[in-house]
């Protein structure tokens, strides 16, 4: 099924309704495996059991960034190809990405308290992640302020593309500056520095989080299409009544 075929909202709704139970089921299975592996993974010799926060913190950080990347691709879809579903995808991704970014910030600060001795430091990684969260809130505010969905989509698309500058800053902040936050340890030149007994549960959890994101995003897109239909019907009703 191509992107052009999915442009028809009714066809997309049919696809979403068929795919959602499968995606949901796969998410549950992946979380069952991931949580079990994370619980049975060895503790860190220095950090003890608090290292388990990583299994929530790292995937939610990745998903927070993936959310914005997805919105950026959708923004191109809105501005360049005028794909009818691109702005639905962008709008649906914003609150989910914001939630994952908030989860990343909260778990990070709960992890920082026992390990660093503080909930928060103003280092480059934490600051750029906080800026990402603020950008998410700004985009959501923009979506809510403009009444006409297609105009809101184009304004939000430009803001999204400008805000995408923050993504490489987050990714490379630990390399460019000396941060209290540790450097890259999973995706780096020369291979991961994490021992497989901890790395594999982390990757399974990342898969589970990604599936959760996909499920929530597809459901949110379906709801957004239905919401727009309701809006159109209301407008038609109002113009018929007058």
């Amino acid at each position: 099924m191509t992107l052009t075929e999915l442009a028809n909202p009714s066809r997309f709704l049919a696809f979403a309704n068929r795919a959602l139970p499968w995606l949901g089921g796969m998410t549950v299975i992946a979380f069952a495996f991931g949580l079990d592996m994370a619980m049975n993974a060895p503790n860190d010799y220095q950090q003890g059991a608090t290292v388990k926060i990583m299994y929530l913190h790292v995937p939610s950080a990745w998903l927070g960034m993936l959310g914005w990347a997805l919105m950026s691709v959708a923004a191109l879809g809105t501005l360049v190809w005028r794909h009818p579903l691109a702005d639905v995808a962008a709008k649906a991704a914003a609150p989910i990405g914001a939630a994952f970014t908030l989860l990343c910030l909260v778990t990070g600060s709960l992890w920082g308290r026992p390990e660093w001795g503080t909930y928060w430091v103003w280092d480059a990684r934490l600051t750029s992640e906080l800026v990402l969260f603020l950008l998410y809130l700004g985009v959501i505010a923009l979506w809510r302020t403009v009444e006409d969905p297609s105009r809101a989509a184009r304004a939000a698309a430009i803001l999204t593309l400008v805000g995408a500058i923050d993504l490489p800053i987050i990714k490379f902040s630990v390399d460019w500056w000396n941060t209290l936050h540790q450097g890259s340890s999973v995706f780096r030149l020369g291979g991961s520095t994490i021992y497989p007994t901890i790395l594999i549960p982390l990757l399974v959890m990342a898969l589970a989080f990604t599936l959760l994101f996909a499920t929530l995003h597809l459901a949110a897109m379906r709801n957004e299409i239905l919401r727009r239909r309701v809006r159109t019907f209301r407008l038609m009703q109002a113009s018929a009544a007058s």
Partner: protein, 222 residues
């Protein structure tokens, strides 16, 4: 006179004659700086230490002042449609409007900053470097602000939204502006390191700002 020059003169005239332009920005700048000693207490040593940060923050807020009306007034009286239909590239038009905005709100702040710095117990070296960092950094604030102004052009509550979407984007400018000023005053980082990054941020925003703002205006006005 060529169209861009005429636009520059028109925008500057409008912002100086209508609504007090330059003076209003400087006044706001002064009021914000005056409020700080009331909040943190009149400790001159502390004020001297946080002085550059206060002045930068006040300049950031003051540069937002007239921004929400930058395209909105043109949109309301229809001249924005004429600018969109003119043969001059919209990116250049937007850039010229940005320059006019900076000349009427940014530049007066830089002139006033050394005087206001006296209130915060800054010494001449600190005031000089601070004025220099403001001179280099405030164009970035204006040109990043252009994007927000273009996005919020036709909104009813544009002003508040503008602040929400523009301020996170200005974080790097604030960080390196204050870092450069502090590096010159107290060290230990050499002044050149944060200062060159500040220059880079300004140059990048001079390019990205007009293109993004012009794209936003075209989309909004369709």
């Amino acid at each position: 006179m060529n169209p861009l020059g005429a636009l520059l003169v028109r925008d500057m005239r409008l912002s100086i004659r209508v609504g007090g332009g330059a003076l209003m920005g400087v006044l706001f700048f002064l009021v914000v700086v005056t409020l700080v000693p009331f909040a943190v207490g009149p400790d001159l040593a502390l004020l001297k230490k946080i002085g550059p940060a206060i002045l930068w923050l006040a300049a950031l807020l003051a540069s937002l002042l007239a921004l929400d009306r930058l395209f909105a007034t043109d949109h309301e009286d229809g001249s924005l449609d004429l600018l969109l239909m003119s043969r001059t590239p919209l990116e250049l038009v937007v850039a010229v409007k940005g320059v006019a905005h900076w000349l009427t709100t940014g530049l007066p702040l830089i002139v006033a900053a050394p005087l206001i710095g006296l209130l915060l117990n800054l010494d001449p070296l600190a005031e000089g470097t601070l004025a220099l960092t403001l001179l280099v950094g405030t164009p970035a604030l204006t040109f990043i602000g252009l994007i927000g102004a273009a996005i919020a052009v036709a909104l009813r509550r544009g002003g508040l939204l503008l602040a929400i979407i523009v301020l996170p984007l200005t974080v790097p400018v604030l960080i390196f502006g204050v870092a450069a000023a502090n590096a010159a005053i107290v060290g230990p980082v050499p002044f050149g390191t944060p200062f060159t990054i500040l220059c880079a941020l300004t140059l990048a925003s001079l390019v990205i700002g007009p293109f993004a703002a012009a794209a936003a205006l075209r989309q909004e006005m369709e």
